[in-house]
């Protein structure tokens, strides 16, 4: 397999709130390879965004804090970098686009200003040059009148236009990793398709790796090379996109895939929903966090945390059902 661009090991992020410690990430392990698009799926609150924000260290203290783990990028542990050095990586080597394009831009500055700002910051360019680059970037994302858009304020543009601009801004410093946290959730379907097309094209033109966060398995299928399935602060299954649909292994993944009526459901007993509720992360279930909802739960599931087990080429599951398989 290709080179590892970024490697997350044992990442634990907690939120110290008044009601208790929210154990949002419970030891995440994830490698992102150069040039790949890796998806992250899971229900609301499972920790996808926290994972993304932890990577660029935008978990705000208080209340959030990365307590354990390492994130290796370019041979450096990002978690140990001084803030100044981290700021040189943000928006430059690793950049991020967010879910709500309407709110993600500062309402009081023009789009062009905001894009030029990041160019000026990381590439030490003069304002005029940076502005020119910004227009280039806007053009690159397929915006029809880039000069006009650059001079517009966020409230003057549509959501799709803003998300394109956001992508332009994120790509303006040619990042090695682009983190996209549900980039299309707030957009209507036709626009969503355009944005996804744009992102698909990006991979080929820029060669950047993409971490695509979504809870839409369809998008994963369309966009990603690999996918990680998250549940309550853990990645429970990690596989190539092909094998995850063919052979979902973790009971949670199975439940997730079977919940989609349009997909091939030969693994499913019935069109199922997963019983029970998302666990409270202040008092998470011991052992495997999924066990209270799992129809195949065993005694030990409530006592020990399962390790990683290999079920196929590049396909790993964190579930005792597969203990026979190779350890990762």
């Amino acid at each position: 397999m290709a080179d590892v661009l970024l490697s997350i090991k044992g990442l634990k992020t907690n939120f110290y709130t008044y009601t208790g410690v929210v154990k949002a990430l419970d030891g995440i392990d994830l490698d992102i390879y150069k040039g790949e698009t890796i998806g992250l799926v899971g229900e609301t609150g499972c920790g996808k965004s926290v994972t993304a924000l932890s990577i660029i260290r935008l978990i705000q203290w208080p209340p959030g804090k990365i307590d354990e783990g390492s994130i290796t990028f370019d041979g450096k542990d990002l978690l140990k970098l001084p803030l100044r050095d981290m700021q040189k990586i943000r928006g430059n080597n690793i950049s991020m686009i967010f879910q709500e394009p309407m709110n993600a831009f500062n309402p009081v500055y023009t789009i062009g200003d905001q894009i030029a700002e990041v160019i000026m910051l990381h590439q030490k360019k003069k304002k005029k040059e940076a502005w020119q680059d910004a227009i280039e970037m806007l053009k690159f994302t397929g915006i029809p009148a880039p000069e006009r858009v650059a001079k517009s304020y966020p409230h003057e543009l549509s959501g799709g236009m803003l998300q394109r601009s956001m992508i332009a801004m994120a790509l303006s410093c040619k990042p090695k990793l682009l983190i996209a946290d549900e980039p299309t959730t707030a957009l209507d379907v036709t626009i969503e398709a355009q944005i996804l097309d744009l992102m698909k094209g990006l991979k080929t033109t820029t060669g950047a790796s993409i971490l695509l966060i979504t809870h839409d398995l369809g998008i994963i299928a369309e966009m990603c090379d690999r996918v990680g399935v998250m549940y309550a602060g853990n990645i429970v299954e990690l596989a190539d996109v092909g094998s995850i649909y063919k052979k979902p292994s973790h009971p949670y993944t199975v439940g997730l895939i079977c919940a989609i009526p349009t997909l091939d459901t030969k693994h499913c007993n019935r069109l199922a929903t997963i019983p029970g509720n998302v666990p409270n992360l202040i008092y998470p279930p011991p052992g495997c966090r999924f066990h209270p909802r799992c129809n195949k739960a065993m005694d030990r599931c409530s006592k020990e945390k399962p390790g990683w087990y290999k079920v196929g080429e590049g396909h790993y599951v964190s579930c005792f059902l597969y203990e026979g398989g190779d350890k990762k």
């Binding site: 943000r90 928006g91 309402p107 500055y109």
Partner: protein
């Protein structure tokens, strides 16, 4: 709409506002009592002749609406009438010209203090939320809003002037220094205009304690306002975007958060400015500052209607103007806001 058209429209709108205010103050003030009796005071009790003469001279025997008509007619000619005996009966306009600049100067400097100190303190407090600087600032702000001005003024004078001779006790200038040539009537500004820097410093030195005293409550209010709107702004998505771009925390706060957080603070400041102008009596009394507040209290005390009304109209005028200024500032601060 063009800025100029907007300003013209707003100023034209001022006319009905002023007429409305004149109507209300006119009828309210004429309900208090007999203005002629008020003119006479204790010494001339029972001087029916004098009362009659004064009533006749001032149309006081006409029905109120007719009197109001006389007033409006004069007003249209920029004549606000004559002051009462307290001011020697000189034209109200002249008295306003004498006293208003002094108060305006205090209010501007007081607002300056409030902005220059209050806004950074508010930012500091928000940025260090729930940490020591925040606690200190919040206690100071609480003390600031609840401090009685009278007491504060005397304390300031006692410590900064009497004990440690840093600032003068009171007044606008030492009697040994000539006032700068009158342009605005505000000594600090006039001194600068005339290039008299010595006078400027002396005048500023005189103005610092009273304007601080006057501005303190506003300072505290702006601090609180700035803190809460800053906190609010800091939770916004675009702040996260700014950080994700790799901007330093200083840039995030001073460039991205500040401008957004300033909008509500500006509104409050605009309203507070009118309050500074009309609420300066205490400060003016303690610091022997010859301002409009003392004039208005004297006018009210002697039921001097023309002066009361002149004062009310002027304050309303500046109140509206400062709000207009705020509205114009808004457009600069927030491109989503349009004139209209």
């Amino acid at each position: 709409m063009k800025l100029r058209d907007y300003i013209i429209r707003r100023i034209l709108l001022l006319i009905p506002v002023l007429i409305g205010i004149s109507f209300i103050t006119f009828f309210l003030s004429h309900m208090i009592g007999d203005p002629a009796a008020a003119w006479l005071g204790e010494k001339t009790i029972g001087q029916e002749e004098a009362v009659k003469a004064i009533r006749a001279a001032h149309h006081l025997d006409d029905p109120l609406p007719i009197q109001y008509f006389y007033y409006l007619n004069d007003l249209a000619h920029f004549d606000l009438g004559r002051t009462g005996r307290n001011e020697g009966g000189r034209p109200v306009i002249e008295a306003l010209k004498d006293y208003f600049p002094a108060t305006l100067e205090l209010a501007i400097l007081g607002m300056g203090f409030a902005i220059i100190i209050g806004i950074p303190l508010g930012i500091l407090s928000a940025v260090f939320k729930d940490k020591v600087p925040d606690h200190i600032v919040r206690v100071l702000a609480l003390v600031g809003v609840s401090m009685p001005i009278f007491w504060l003024g005397l304390i300031l004078k006692y410590w900064f002037s009497f004990k440690f001779d840093i600032f003068p006790l009171d007044g606008r200038l030492p009697y040994t220094v000539l006032a700068p040539p009158k342009v605005t009537g505000m000594y600090t500004f006039d001194a600068l205009l005339a290039g008299q820097f010595d006078t400027f410093f002396v005048a500023l030195r005189h103005a610092i304690l009273p304007s601080f005293c006057l501005g303190l409550i506003t300072l505290a209010i702006l601090t609180r306002m700035m803190r809460s709107s800053m906190l609010e702004t800091l939770t916004q998505d675009f702040i996260r975007t700014a950080r994700a771009k790799g901007l330093s925390e200083r840039k995030v706060i001073l460039k991205h958060a500040l401008r957004n957080a300033l909008t509500p603070t500006t509104t409050v400041a605009g309203i507070a400015f009118g309050g500074l102008l009309s609420g300066a009596v205490m400060t003016e009394t303690i610091f022997a500052w010859p301002g409009i507040g003392r004039f208005s209290v004297k006018a009210i005390g002697s039921t001097d209607f023309a002066s009361i009304m002149g004062f009310a109209l002027l304050i309303v005028l500046f109140y509206v103007l400062s709000n207009l200024l705020v509205d114009i500032l808004y457009v600069y601060l927030d491109p989503r806001v349009k004139y209209g």
